[in-house]
């Protein structure tokens, strides 16, 4: 609509895009004023900043600068959404390829100690063009299926870059190369912690939510307790669980045999589960409450038993809301699971805390980047599922 107005008012002049002005400013800063890459002689010394022109062969560097300038211009001026999307994607891919090339270019031949990592300029540029792409995508209002296809394509591009070894000379992958086994082990643990706690919370939380809608006496106390749990700082909750879990392991026969202990994965799973319950239970309650009263009355009046009403009418209608709760929990748990490393629970947090201990930021990134990627992917997938599960008409009937 904004575009329509601008062309109607001033067809001859180029109009500026509001978000584009900000994006162009960020792009200019990131490309010209800030270091594109950081070079260090070894992994813990202070880095030397390198601009784009110092990080790549001149021909490549100028090509990249030209591309960034062009994409920045597309962002700055009001342009068709599809053009913005294409320009943003092109710039992103160029950045991802260039940073890998910079790693190879800056590392002296045969030097195994030198570290090249992305500089603040690179991150800022990545942020700006990612914002441009998400903005274009949201303006396009893609269908859930297309969003999932886009996610798959993105994953394929990243996988191709990794498999072809284009980033192998970057610091983060140098750290990966020396601990590939540990990386995949912790990745598995991370996924098990996040999804396992989600599965437990769904299996128990939905029935608890149903019970809360059936009994007002249960509802208040249950939701209050879960609310309080939610406010306990995560590090504190992980710590608080050490004593009771150790006690259970020591006193209940067989408990330690199935892996329960004061530290390790078991208390981490319990803590994540405790955080997961509130969103699942409260969304189940809200979802069931939102089923139109007349619909429930009609179901009763036509002779459905309590169970038939729940399974055929109430749960199907509440499902999108419950799924939204599950989405919140999954994204939250993928992030929170990093803290499990503090109590020996494993997961990507292991690298984060090791990296902090060794002041090796590359190692921190090795833990943080996969966590963020996993969380974003989970959010996109579940958002698409929530939208697919919503039925037109149901919402109007509810309102």
């Amino acid at each position: 609509m904004a575009q329509g107005i601008s062309t109607a008012a001033a067809p001859a002049r180029l109009a500026l895009d509001k978000l584009g002005v900000l994006l162009a400013a960020i792009v200019a800063t990131g490309a010209l004023a800030l270091p594109f890459a950081t070079f260090r002689a070894n992994r813990i010394v202070l880095g030397e900043p390198r601009g784009i022109l110092d990080s790549l062969e001149p021909a490549l560097a100028w090509t990249l600068l030209g591309l960034l300038a062009a994409a920045g211009l597309v962002a700055l001026v009001r342009t068709p959404v599809r053009l913005r999307l294409a320009a943003g994607l092109l710039a992103l891919v160029a950045l991802l390829l260039a940073i890998g090339r910079a790693g190879t270019f800056l590392t002296p031949e045969g030097n195994g100690f030198a570290r090249v990592s992305p500089g603040s300029g690179f991150w800022l540029l990545l942020f700006a063009f990612a914002l441009m792409v998400t903005d274009a995508l949201s303006r396009l209002a893609l269908s859930p299926a297309r969003r999932l296809a886009g996610l798959a394509a993105t994953a394929a591009v990243l996988a191709a870059i990794l498999v072809c070894g284009l980033w192998d000379d970057l610091s983060m992958l140098r750290e990966y190369a020396t601990r590939a086994d540990a990386f995949w082990r912790e990745a598995r643990t991370h996924v098990v912690l996040a999804f396992g706690s989600l599965a437990l919370a769904t299996l128990t939380g939905v029935p608890i939510g149903i019970a809360c809608t059936r009994s007002a006496r249960l509802r208040g106390p249950v939701l209050n307790v879960l609310n309080i749990v939610q406010t306990i700082p995560s590090i504190a909750l992980f710590g608080l669980l050490i004593a009771p879990m150790a006690w259970i392991a020591a006193t209940i026969p067989g408990a330690s045999a199935i892996g329960i202990a004061g530290i390790g994965a078991a208390p981490a799973l319990v803590a994540l589960y405790a955080y997961s319950l509130l969103p699942v239970v409260s969304n189940t309650v809200v979802g069931l409450d939102g089923v139109p009263r007349q619909t429930v009355d009609a179901a009763r009046g036509m002779g459905m038993t309590g169970r038939q009403r729940l399974l055929r009418v109430e749960l199907p209608l509440a499902f999108p809301v419950i799924l939204t709760g599950i989405r919140i929990v999954l994204v939250q748990n993928i992030g929170l699971a990093t803290i499990a490393a503090l109590i020996g629970g494993g997961g990507f947090g292991v690298f984060v805390f090791q990296g902090i201990g060794q002041t090796a930021m590359d190692l921190v990134l090795l833990g943080a980047v996969p966590t963020v990627v996993l969380a974003v992917a989970a959010a996109i997938v579940l958002d698409a599922l929530v939208e697919m599960s919503e039925r037109p008409g149901v919402r109007e009937a509810r309102g």
Binding site: P292, Q294, T295, D297, A298, A299, R300, G301, M302, G303, M304, T305, Q308, V313, P316, L317, R391, P392, G393, V394, E396, A397
Partner: protein
């Protein structure tokens, strides 16, 4: 036959229904009228046990309605509510087939029944079967709601303000459809409304409720002519009385031999509409036609006499 026997419903301190007794003969329409909070809906809901009475009993064809589990009882009684209460996540066919599928009918029989009902309500089965409720107009949704209530061929149909959400033109059509269906199947209907006009139009008998008490239960002509209390009189609306009385008779029943000039009136027209037509066209009499043949005439003064308070 539905016998409501001294039914009382108390919620905490409030007596919502107070010792109401009434009998609805088989194959008739009883309309319960009252203001909101009068207990009319609660009373109706004791019939299919959506409300369990605090005391008293409801008998259907002589049998206490607590003899069966509530859900089995409800599957035998049609139920239609205001705003239709259709299941928004199910197709029209699935909505209509709800009770038959609860009763375990086989799929072919359900599909046949769904198509029959859609045709009965003048909706093309091929076009409507697979639609979702939100794709229908308000009038269509309401018809599907009634079709769903009739799906398992119940002898009794309970309706809670079924036409409340419809605009006046669609409402009049829906009321005519209901009368036609009732005449065809001989269903016993209990209908709740706050609209006296609708009660007079549909009811063989009208029950007027206020503050939980049944004030009067009688035929429409009786209620109009001899309101039991001041409240009933007010509900009918004193200035409306002659016209309401006229609306109970068809002009065909008042036709007398003789001629009259001008366009004929249809015999199915209510005497009220006939009077309006005579006043509007400035005639003192008009011919009456049944199926296109003139069967006599109706005079304005005869209509006026009809509108006078019965002695």
């Amino acid at each position: 036959m539905i016998e409501i026997d001294a039914v009382t419903k108390v919620y905490g301190e409030a007596t919502v229904v107070d010792a109401v007794s009434m009998t609805v003969p088989s194959g008739t329409i009883a309309v319960i009228v009252g203001t909101s909070g009068s207990g009319k809906t609660t009373l109706m809901r004791t019939i299919n046990r959506l409300v369990e009475p605090t005391s008293g009993a409801v008998r259907i064809d002589g049998e206490d309605n607590r003899a069966l589990p509530a859900y089995e009882l409800r599957r035998r009684i049609g139920y239609a509510i205001q705003g239709h209460g259709l299941f928004p996540h199910r197709t029209v066919a699935q909505n209509i087939g709800t009770v038959p599928s609860l009763l375990g009918w086989d799929e072919k029989r359900i599909a046949r029944r769904v198509d029959d009902l859609l045709e009965l309500f003048q909706l093309d089965p091929a076009a409507f079967r697979e639609r979702m409720p939100h794709e229908l107009s308000g009038g269509q949704q309401q018809r599907i709601g009634v079709a769903r209530a009739l799906a398992a061929e119940p002898n009794i149909l309970l309706m809670d303000e079924p036409f409340g959400a419809l605009d006046p033109i669609i409402r009049a059509k829906a009321q005519d459809d209901l009368l036609a269906i009732q005449a065809r199947f001989g269903t016993t209907i209990v209908l709740v409304t706050h609209d006296m006009e609708e009660a007079i139009r549909l009811g063989h008998r009208i029950a007027v409720m206020d503050a939980g008490a049944l004030l009067q239960y009688a035929e429409p002509a009786d209620i109009i002519a001899r309101p039991a209390t001041a409240f009933v009189k007010e509900l009918i609306g004193a200035p409306e009385r002659p016209f309401r009385l006229l609306s109970l008779v068809r002009v065909g029943d008042l036709a007398e031999p003789g001629d009259a000039p001008g366009a004929p009136l249809d015999a199915g027209l209510s005497a009220r509409d006939a009077l309006a037509e005579l006043l509007w066209s400035g005639r003192v009499a008009a011919p009456v036609a049944r199926d296109g043949t003139i069967v006599g005439r109706v005079r304005r003064d005869a209509l006026e006499q009809r509108a006078a308070r019965p002695s």
